[in-house]
């Protein structure tokens, strides 16, 4: 847990020598607490104070990076239990698992399809983050062959898991020198060898414990062997167990600064077997604190909603994704085409723009400055009223671009139509549908006269 300015002050020399550039040690301590200066600005601080301050400054959930030659997945560094308290920072890596017991052709086909997968959501390109190659056979040669087969089709970061360090090492050797895959799984039985391998490869290590006590003991032992980057597997695969242990681990890390469990989590929803249950467990893992989610069944119709859910949950709640307010042209509108109005919340904008674009019908779209809120939220907050809409219609010079002054407002704000007629006396105000999805039909049926 971060120290307060007063706590930091007690660790400083308290001489007010001003060598740091601040008038007093207390002023410097306050700046340190606010993370606006570095401790190194003080030339007189003692070694023990340095160590204590460094410890307190370390993030409660360690940042762990998994790298391939050219890509990386960073997870951890989280500071809250609920996204509204600040935000969730590092999106969990969505990893697709392949076992070395798969027929080579099936393995390569699965990896090729998953690697190539891309989907666009509100203008953002999304895809999976990497592959987990698992030694199911326990045979070094088979594992090495599987890792090679994956690398033939993908350059994404890898998770390598095997029952023993010797098998794991055989797979690791297939990777280039610059790669630091996530290795595993270290357990109470094999942790020495696993930690030795991870230390040599400078790679992060998955640690599995059957209880939190065992997990905390293992991370302490492994850390003593020089492995700093770990990922926790609390060895629960069911809904309630996963929720409970993930919550406890995150709580201990944040509220008690409990270092032995201050690492990102990995979830294996595929253990459920049923793809429908796997999907729900994966969603729970995304909501509830996982750093890596390893899925078995790769299907676009499942991966797409998972990626979007992850995007939603890791959006900063204080910064709605906004679109630049302005007049947008859809399907090359002519002066006589209708003018639609919506807000500049990105999801609202994309819903409307996608629908109109998809319909093939030309239209002008006024994206009003509603401070990044959706139609109803903005309306409730007084950011999308007749006055604002009228102001933006004038500001964007809409009247100069169109010959027919006909403005369609969202159905949810039908109440604004009267007031808007007052604000824009030369315009015909029409009330459109409530939902963007109904726009094409509305435009075809209600506006074609």
């Amino acid at each position: 847990m971060a120290l307060t300015g007063i706590q930091i002050y007690k660790l400083l020399p308290q001489t007010n020598c001003k060598d740091c550039g601040f008038p007093t040690c207390l002023a410097f301590a306050m700046k340190l607490a606010a993370k606006q200066v570095e401790l190194s600005a003080c030339p007189h601080v003692s070694e023990s104070a340095k160590a204590q301050l460094a410890e307190s400054a370390a993030p409660p959930v360690r940042l762990v990076t998994v790298r391939s030659d050219g890509a990386e997945v960073k997870v951890g560094n989280e500071v809250v239990l609920f996204r509204h308290e600040k935000t969730f920072y590092n999106r969990p890596g969505l990893i697709v698992r392949v076992g070395d017991d798969l027929a080579p052709s099936a393995l390569e086909a699965k990896v090729a399809a998953a690697d190539a997968y891309r989907v666009t959501y509100v203008g953002i390109d999304l895809g999976i983050d990497g592959f987990a190659v698992e030694s199911v056979k326990g045979d070094p040669a088979a594992f090495a062959a599987a890792v090679q087969a994956v690398r033939r089709h993908s350059r994404k970061p890898l998770v390598l898991t095997a029952p023993s360090a010797s098998v794991l090492g055989a797979g690791l050797e297939m990777l280039g020198a610059g790669e630091t895959p996530l290795l595993g799984v270290a357990t109470a039985d094999n942790w020495r060898d696993m930690a030795g391998l991870a230390q040599k490869a400078k790679s992060p290590l998955i640690v599995r414990g059957n209880t939190l006590d065992e997990l905390a003991t293992l991370t302490g032992q492994i850390k003593d062997m020089g492995v700093e980057d770990m990922v926790l597997d609390p060895a629960v695969r069911d809904f309630a167990g996963h929720l409970t242990l993930s919550t406890l681990i995150r709580r201990l890390a944040l509220k008690k600064n409990f270092r032995p469990l201050g690492y990102p989590l990995i979830a294996f929803p595929a253990a459920a077997g049923d793809p429908a249950v796997e999907l729900m467990l994966a969603a729970q893992a995304i909501l509830k604190y996982a750093g890596f989610v390893v899925i078995d069944h790769f299907a676009p119709e499942a991966v797409y909603p998972l990626l979007v859910l992850r995007q939603n949950i890791y959006t900063d709640p204080q910064k709605p994704i906004q679109v630049q307010p302005g007049l947008y042209e859809i399907n090359n509108p002519k002066p006589e085409d209708p003018v639609l109005v919506t807000t500049n919340f990105s999801i609202t904008y994309f819903s409307v723009a996608n629908e109109v674009e998809g319909s093939g019908l030309p239209a002008w779209l006024v994206v009003a400055d509603a401070e990044g809120m959706s139609v109803l939220t903005a309306w409730a907050a007084g950011k999308f009223d007749a006055e604002r809409i009228a102001k933006d219609v004038k500001r964007f010079g809409v009247a100069d671009r169109v010959s027919r002054r006909r403005l369609v407002i969202p159905g949810h704000v039908a109440v604004l139509s009267g007031e808007l007629e007052g604000e824009l006396p030369d315009w015909e105000i029409r009330v459109g549908p409530r939902e963007a999805v109904d726009l094409p039909r509305y435009m075809r049926e209600a506006l074609m006269n």
Binding site: F82, R83, H84, Y117, R118, V119, T120, L212, D213, L215, A216, T217, G220, D238, F239, A240, L243, T244, T247, L248, R251, L252, K255, K256, F258, P260, L261, D274, A276, V277, L279, M280, A283, Q284, L287, K288, A299, P300, E301, A302, V303, Y304, P305, V308, L309, Q311, N312, I313, T315, P317, I347, N354, G358, S374, L376, T377, A380, E435, V437, D438
Partner: protein, 320 residues
């Protein structure tokens, strides 16, 4: 290394609310559904038992819907032409309760009459013994007109009446009070608006054990995170003792998910969206699962496969 099990202690609890009334209680239902009573965050059984499991409602309409995805219409088949048969099919699919959503117009485009609404409700009540929620078309005037007639015709059934919002709560609450029903208090994704409406409703004399709050939600990809966080904040406030947030929450992931393009449209969408039917069901399932984790007490669903899946999730989450 012994690890401390860090338990939160909360002072507040969610209100317990029972929907439906058996003959002994003045209604005709075969059983009732009770939700609420949580003393900690969802499914954290190590801190406090969750006395009542979240309930699954299936949304049906009074007539064949005009604007539902063909995927949904295929799943239900011919029962969509008869609300009684539809309610029975929903019960067979695993619903804990039925939500009958009245249409704004009849099949010919004429406004739904109070008599027609009452007839549809009666059909459902006689065909299916589960507790029932009845929602109006979502336009305050029409809701008032239809729901008052329904409430009077079903006195004592402890129906859940909606949509009760700031525009029309007076009428809906008054008729619910007079006829022994419950209200579904809906506000647009905002903690303070939710609280305020609950205050207004209780000020009219409605007891807290007859109010469900509906904080509204968005489907995954369409504002889900707003609804999710509002629900988390409402539940945290409830556990901290804020009386006017201590109501069980109902949300409508079915309605939200099935109006998305992902669920509604099968052709002309990116190949990366995958199989239409599977994607649509996944959209509903993941939206509902997320809301369940945020504190939903009643999930209103549309597709029978989503009901099956959410049942599995709830069973898994209730194993403390």
């Amino acid at each position: 290394m012994p690890v401390e099990i860090l338990k939160e202690t909360w002072t507040g609890a969610v209100q317990i609310v029972t929907l439906g009334a058996t003959p002994a209680e003045g209604g005709t239902r075969g059983r009732t559904v009770t939700v609420g009573g949580e003393r900690t965050l969802p499914f954290l059984h190590f801190e406090a038992p969750m006395p009542h499991r979240p309930a699954l409602a299936v949304e049906i309409k009074d007539r064949r819907p005009d604007d539902w995805s063909p995927v949904l219409l295929r799943a239900w088949g011919d029962v969509v032409d008869d609300p009684g048969a539809w309610a029975q099919a929903a019960a067979a699919a695993g619903a804990d309760l039925i939500l009958l959503a009245l249409s704004l117009t009849d099949a010919d485009g004429r406004p739904t009459t109070p008599a027609a609404a009452v007839a549809a409700v009666r059909k459902v009540l006689s065909a299916c013994s589960l507790p029932l929620a009845v929602f109006g078309p979502g336009q305050a005037d029409a809701d008032n007109e239809l729901l008052v007639a329904v409430a009077e015709a079903t006195k004592g059934e402890r129906l859940l009446l909606g949509i009760c919002e700031d525009k029309n709560y007076r009428t809906i609450v008054a008729t619910a009070l007079a006829n022994g029903h419950l209200v579904n208090a809906r506000t647009p994704m905002d903690v303070n608006l939710a609280k305020q409406l609950n205050i207004l409703i209780t000020d009219m004399g409605m007891p807290l054990d007859r109010i469900i709050m509906d904080p509204t939600t968005g489907a995954v990809g369409y504002g889900f995170e707003y609804g999710y966080s509002v629900m988390e904040r409402l539940r945290l406030a409830a556990l901290q003792g804020d009386r006017m947030t201590q109501l069980p929450m109902l949300v409508t992931p079915g309605f939200e998910a099935w109006k998305t393009k992902e669920a509604k449209v099968g052709n002309g969408v990116p190949a990366a969206w995958g199989d239409w039917e599977a994607r649509a069901i996944n959209w509903e399932t993941l939206t509902a699962l997320g809301l369940l984790e945020a504190g939903a007490d009643i999930l209103v669903l549309r597709h029978p496969e989503s009901v099956r899946r959410l049942r599995l999730a709830i069973e898994g989450l209730m194993k403390g």
